[in-house]
Amino acid sequence: MERFVQVILCLCLPWMASGKTWHVRQAGTGHPIQHALDLAAPGDTILVDKGIYTEKGLVIRKPVCLRGIDWPILDGEKQYEILAVSANDVVVEGFHFQYSGVSGWHDIAGVKIYNAHHVTIRSNILDHTFFGIYCLGSSNCTLSGNTIHSDADNDIQSGNGIHCWKCDSMRILDNEITRHRDGIYFEFVTHSLIRGNRSFSNARYGLHFMFSHNNVYERNLFRHNEAGVSVMFSHGVTMLGNTFTENWGGSAYGILMKEITDSKVIGNHFLNNTSGIYMEGTTRILVTENTFSGNGWAMKIQASCSDDVITRNNFNGNTFDIATNGSLVLNTFNANYWDKYEGYDLGRDGIGDVPYHPVSLYSMIAEKNPTVMMLYHSFMVGLLDKSEKVIPSITPEALRDDKPFMKPLRLP
């Protein structure tokens, strides 16, 4: 606790040195925080005591530091947007936002940043806000250590946890987002870092982005989201060491990638998802050092994907390793470990001497005609698969790993 206080003091020193400190001491009638904000000069710090504040829409128009002591509650009374930030260099920390309005027309949020840069929103609790933190046309903002929780049960009457639109160089760090529509939602967001967030039990996607280029996603956890993670129409995406797990359902994916180009998927864990990775229309994606374990399908790669490289991954205990929907194979599979590999290694170099075909006949058939899954695990399907293994006729011959590892790779 002491260290925590020190950290906060250090971080706030610049303002303490340069500006005045205002103290809002009690909750009550009127609009004490807004009043303080109006009185404060740029660079000032406003401390807010514990209590419940119903300000009916706070607005920060100048660069100040607004800090809560013992998480004072800012209540939107289920009607209002709780806090709007339209100035640069603002810091908001230590508040408990609750009950923003809910609207089918406006994107009402707990905190909304309008066209600002270098805004920091950190260590807040957002409880039952429609949208959590909403950034519009902003840049270089940091959203960190916030706990954003709602109770969305379906994706119609709910908003996103962290929502960014037309932003650049954002830093989304160590937030926890649960039971919103999408945990983290980006549209037209570039050059941003998303690290250490935990997004789970959301009504739609744990992470959802479109047209968002050159962003880095690192060590995030996406667990048990209704439809997993979905990313589309972007290039330069880097995914490092994330965990995609327990996204289980008819249309749930560890990660669904559509029209993604020139990207890297490295060192991630895909565990117990219906499909670990689903790729459609992707180009030049490097998938390496990932662990696929306990998924229904480790990867589904549609025939529209090209020049993707899948190498040095561990495939372990998946029902189907790879599924595809066509005979055209424009992607490279090389030097992975497949637990279903039954080849041998005479040279004792750790690499199997015969190629491995990761696509089973049945997964091909099921891809074309899903009703066939009715016969899943039946004797006949087993026989079909065995005979196809001996004489491949339907499964794409080119989809194979020529240098499969005999033993699992040591991956982080």
């Binding site: 399908w297 009715m374 899943y376 695990h377």
Partner: protein, 254 residues
Amino acid sequence: MKIIKYIISDIIRNKIMLAYTVLLLAISLSVFNLEDNKAKGLLSLMSVILIVVPLVSIIFATIYIYNSAEFIELLVSQPLKRTRLLLSVYSGLAISLLLAFLIGSGIPVLIYSPSIVGGVLIAVGMGLTLVFASLAILASVLAREKAKGMGIAILLWFYFSLIYDGIVLFILFQFSDYPLEKASIVFSSLNPIDLGRVVILLKMDVSAMMGYTGAVFKEFFGGNWGSIYSGGIILAWIVAPLYLSVRRFNRKDL
């Protein structure tokens, strides 16, 4: 019904029965010991049970009835109702086969994977034992010669294990432009092995992998009514062949 206990005591001394029990036990134990993942162990065990249990049940029961032809004749000459006699023979066979199955697979499942899925697997195995013993009775009542009866029995097993699924696969492809989810529920009801497999898979929550079909199946078979429905269908698969057998047997010349 007094003769059931004599039939059981005869069958449980049968070497084939002993071999069946040992085989199931060996399969169950090796599956659970080789697979470190219990769920996968159950899945492998399911595949084996769905093949072996119907096969052994129908073949063993058919052979037993043909080998006991003279004995059954003797019993018919006794003051016994034929219906009661046939049902006693069936009960004796069914109870012995169930006993073998429960020792061979039930106990290992109970030890290694005491879960709802395990319970459902055992229930399905028991159901299939009863169904195929019943089909065996029908086969042996229909055909006078042993060779023909065995042929019918093997064909029945082959049909339910393989041919039927082949036909379904063919139909699904021929009519792939139409929504066949509802039809596939009917298809699975018309084959006790398919029905058993679908029920187990749904309990294992692999329905997500079955796409929309899985969702339809889950909705249909998932709830209490679904359990009652599948139980009812299996029961019908036991009772219907038995009923036909009894009717035929009552008029049969021995």
